[in-house]
Symmetry: C2
Subunit: 377 residues, 2 copies
């Protein structure tokens, strides 16, 4: 029950175990074509979604490599572990980085970006995080993108853990590049990553001077247009993704967003009912991962280990400076409310046994009640 | 029966379908550690083998990105499609490229490299291909590496389709970097790629100025030393690779090399017995893929399609300038002699039906005889 890799449905696992087919053959091309079309549907874009055999960081690197020429100014807005990784990446490619570094757990506001853009002058690209998995914060990227557009900058959004879980309108919100990957809300194993590219982003890529080959957007775009992958793709994972995206679209994106909002609310209400303080915001948008502070004197690292060893339940510790101070329950992808009640029940027991002041017997019931209420997303 | 992706054994497919485990948990760390140790055994190296979620081209790009500073001189020896891809890649990273471009199908000789090194002066890195999958040629990389060492250059070997099929002694032959991947002789689906790195290669990487992040060797080396992958790896594929490498090492590398040599000989002898001219060399080292010229007036593209449509057998066409002129049967990985006789029997029928002058009834028997002879590798 971590924010990724997330549980993979048996139908998807079964697709993985099918014999490997040749990536230039007709059988694969059919799967590849359908999968790319389904990705565009999930992304809500008319433009290309490029598929890479890669980690999510690799797909993000493709954005930086295709949009950066050394010395050009770029803004990264960070408020957690992943945002800081993107700042390091943009710097590694020689950009003139303006790092809007918020405290971990803060929610980036449009005004943070607006004043940074005003101070920085000519900014080519703005990088923002939709769901900061390390803190549970989901930012209002629609508002952030609008601010970037006012300054004529391209907008790149890290939607690694949010795509398919919370609303994201690539085209309608004017987002040039959305980076995501397979093992979060898309219910697949890790190994594939995706980048949507607007015409403006492709234009900028054509002018960028950073060296790249595998991650060159135009090479992949041209190859996908012929359904002829530029490099041997992870065919088993593509096949699995095709099945998983089919399941997500059968449920319907709006239904999936509502389910995730209700799962998040159930988790937060249950946590509060047992007396825990939330670290992630208490709002419906925060539907990816719920982060809770460990009670005073309790080491979150020990509680996470305890859950694993006693019950075989994996939840996430804090990352970086938050390690030992918070626990995180992920609820993206193939989850229902009884996964939440299971996690809460185990957490209640582990915190109580560790000596924390915990209200017993309230969390599960409260979570079920909250899940039953109608979601507003 | 193409030179990759190759057939995946059922044990390996079954491992793919196991539930996805967390990449920072103890269960995965055990698999990761064993898998990295097995890779070093297959590579015959004491140094690190770095694992990437990537295509083989991506792993090759890592070599170029870590060893290239713009303007430094590098030699690429090419004699086919993959060699030419590496030349394009080295150029994309701004190296001062000396391209030793042989005809497709030629076998690169030590003297080709020696005279290029003499003419070029100060060369930092030499890139050579072990098995050129597009032509069936397996080069003597031991001799090529020795020549590069005389000139104090680093040696990078593309062993994508050769590792585990034909002898390759990373340390004993003094090869600094060996690039390979999962879906060839290692009997796995595509999605993972590997790079062995000598201490000299790591030293050079520390001085290289090309921008890179995901493919940065030091980042992956340091993370692997702690069994803590730098970016979420394709855990299902790592699990499958662990099973496949276990099977290969159970057979024994020497036994696997002998089997591949005998498979190659069976394929060549069978092809000759039906009257085909070989395109790949008629030598035991050519044990990865056998390339045969289509008889006069016969279009290889049609024969490949025919095999697929009539019999459900996939063999490979020529690539690039060889398309339509040759057919290729791969025999790396999970193959035995009856796979070869099946391919030959189908090819005999398809060529005969297409109107070629084909000796009927000889190929299969001759292939079985040749397979029974002792291999000398």
């Amino acid at each position: 029950m971590t924010p990724g890799p997330t549980p993979v449905p048996p139908e998807v696992l079964a697709a993985l175990a099918e014999p490997v087919i040749h990536h230039r053959g007709r059988d694969f091309r059919e799967i590849y074509e359908r999968c790319l079309a389904r990705l565009r549907e999930v992304y809500r874009t008319e433009h290309d979604v490029l598929m890479f055999t890669s980690s999510g960081t690799g797909a993000f690197e493709s954005a930086v490599a295709n949009l950066t020429s050394a010395g050009e100014r770029a803004i990264v807005v960070s408020a957690g572990s992943f945002g800081e990784r993107w700042a390091a990446l943009v710097k590694a490619f020689g950009a003139d980085l303006v790092h809007v570094r918020l405290e971990w757990g803060e929610t980036p506001e449009p005004d943070d970006l607006r004043s940074a853009l005003r101070d920085a002058g000519d900014v080519r690209v703005v990088y923002v995080v939709h769901s900061e998995t390390s803190t549970g914060v989901v930012a209002d990227v629609q508002a952030l993108a609008a601010v970037a557009k006012e300054a004529d900058a391209l907008v790149v959004v890290d939607a690694v853990s949010s795509l398919g879980a919370v609303p994201l309108e690539t085209d309608a919100w004017g987002i040039d590049v959305v980076v995501s990957r397979s093992q979060k809300a898309l219910m697949c194993p890790p190994g594939l990553a995706f980048v949507s590219v607007s015409p403006a982003a492709l234009d900028a890529a054509a002018r960028s001077s950073a060296p790249r080959f595998v991650y060159d957007w135009e090479r992949t775009r041209a190859a996908q247009a012929k359904l002829d992958a530029p490099f041997t793709p992870a065919v088993s994972l593509v096949r699995a993704l095709d099945v998983a995206l089919g399941m997500l679209l059968d449920e319907g994106l709006e239904a999936a967003f509502a389910r995730h909002a209700r799962l998040g609310r159930a988790c937060r209400e249950g946590a509060k009912a047992m007396g825990l303080d939330l670290f992630s915001p208490d709002e419906d948008r925060s539907a990816v991962v719920t982060a809770m502070r460990a009670p005073d004197g309790i080491d979150a690292t020990r509680v996470v280990a305890e859950l694993r060893e006693r019950f075989g339940i994996t939840i996430a510790n804090g990352q970086g400076e938050l390690k030992g101070r918070i626990v995180r329950i992920g609820h993206i992808g193939w989850f229902d409310v009884f996964d939440i009640t299971t996690a809460l029940a185990a957490l209640e027991l582990a915190f109580a046994d560790a000596g924390a002041e915990i209200e017993r017997g309230a969390a599960v019931t409260r979570a079920l009640e909250a899940y039953a209420e109608r979601a507003h997303v």
